[in-house]
Symmetry: C2
Subunit: 243 residues, 2 copies
Amino acid sequence: MTYCLGIILPRGLVLASDTRSNAGVDQIVRVSKLAVLSDTPDRVIAIQSQGNLATTQAVVTLLREALGSGDKVHDLTTARTMFEVATMVGGQLREVIGRDGPFVPGGGANASLLVSGQIAGEPPRLFQIYSAGNFVEASERAPFVQIGETKYGKPILDRELSWRTSLEEAAKLALLSFDATIRSNLSVGLPIDVLVYRADSFSAGKVVTIDDADRYWSALRQAFSEGLAALISRLPSPPAART
Amino acid sequence: MTYCLGIILPRGLVLASDTRSNAGVDQIVRVSKLAVLSDTPDRVIAIQSQGNLATTQAVVTLLREALGSGDKVHDLTTARTMFEVATMVGGQLREVIGRDGPFVPGGGANASLLVSGQIAGEPPRLFQIYSAGNFVEASERAPFVQIGETKYGKPILDRELSWRTSLEEAAKLALLSFDATIRSNLSVGLPIDVLVYRADSFSAGKVVTIDDADRYWSALRQAFSEGLAALISRLPSPPAART
């Protein structure tokens, strides 16, 4: 399993992906599920992925190889909008699943993706691409999208994330959402790749990798757990428990 | 969908169940998913249920009708331990699914249950009964069990609930777990039935029903959301967001 999260806000994007890939509980490897495909002055494009690793690696590799080729169907540098980028990525996903799917039983070749970034002339945009290759766009009313093991990490986002949240707060919420998921589900694990993209910067900067030796991560988890325990102890007791 | 939660602690039990039953999003009714089957000086027995409503209502009704009958297979008043109670409830569930299952396509007659309570001579005990009629027992290391829509409400329990938690704190955590679930999933809804059983009291007391007019519920949600926002804003910003 995997957990990938994309958040879009007026000031930019927060992207986070875990790096655990497993088939069962024994065969565990670390892989990158957050790829920056373009980081040039006119476009920054990132792809996050979950599902069959052969499929997602093929999609990312084929798109990467097509960069600058001029191929109108696969070359993301020819896209005029992020909507076109999402269409091209969805198309590439369909091609790979169409090619490999019949040989992998039970829909095992399936995968889904988050595609995000900014092309000059547009604000940043964020899309969730389904296995079928079609996609939906995140917006002010639904500023985050998730793929993979999405449930455990959703409550804190539903509670606290809104269009008015700052990028810094959103980055904290993203990590707390991952912490919740990792605590509740063995198949999602450290390290986490995090990318914070500031609108109109046209620079993806550096993907920050947070592993279990990361001091910030330890401090964040501890401060949050202690603060949460203190908060809960201050809340009034339920009538059901009063006697 | 449904969400039922059972918590066992040295001082007693906290049980909570939502009351929404739906087939699709249109046909919504309120039902009780928390039944107290025995509340006598030597035994308190409660059953929480999720799954096919015809199945769970049949199981609870048949067991209720068998109380005092002397029937060694179905009469819970003849059980010497809560383990025997769980075995009898699992057996009744098998009978109903065996009878109705073949007529309901695709495993649609399936259901699962939480069975908890105390019989004189034992501490309180808590079991999760699967559709197959077999069951597992909650314990010091795993002091809560959930059935139905379990994921959204799990992180706060994983983070904060332990064997040292008081009944009062556990009741708060149970409600916060429900709040998280209700916020993130349309199919779980108010009111919530809550029962707090104190060990060795041999009195189930009153099932408290919390609906959306409940002042405590509103105050709890508001205080928690505000406290959480304040807590998160005090946490240090992630390195990824520092520039």
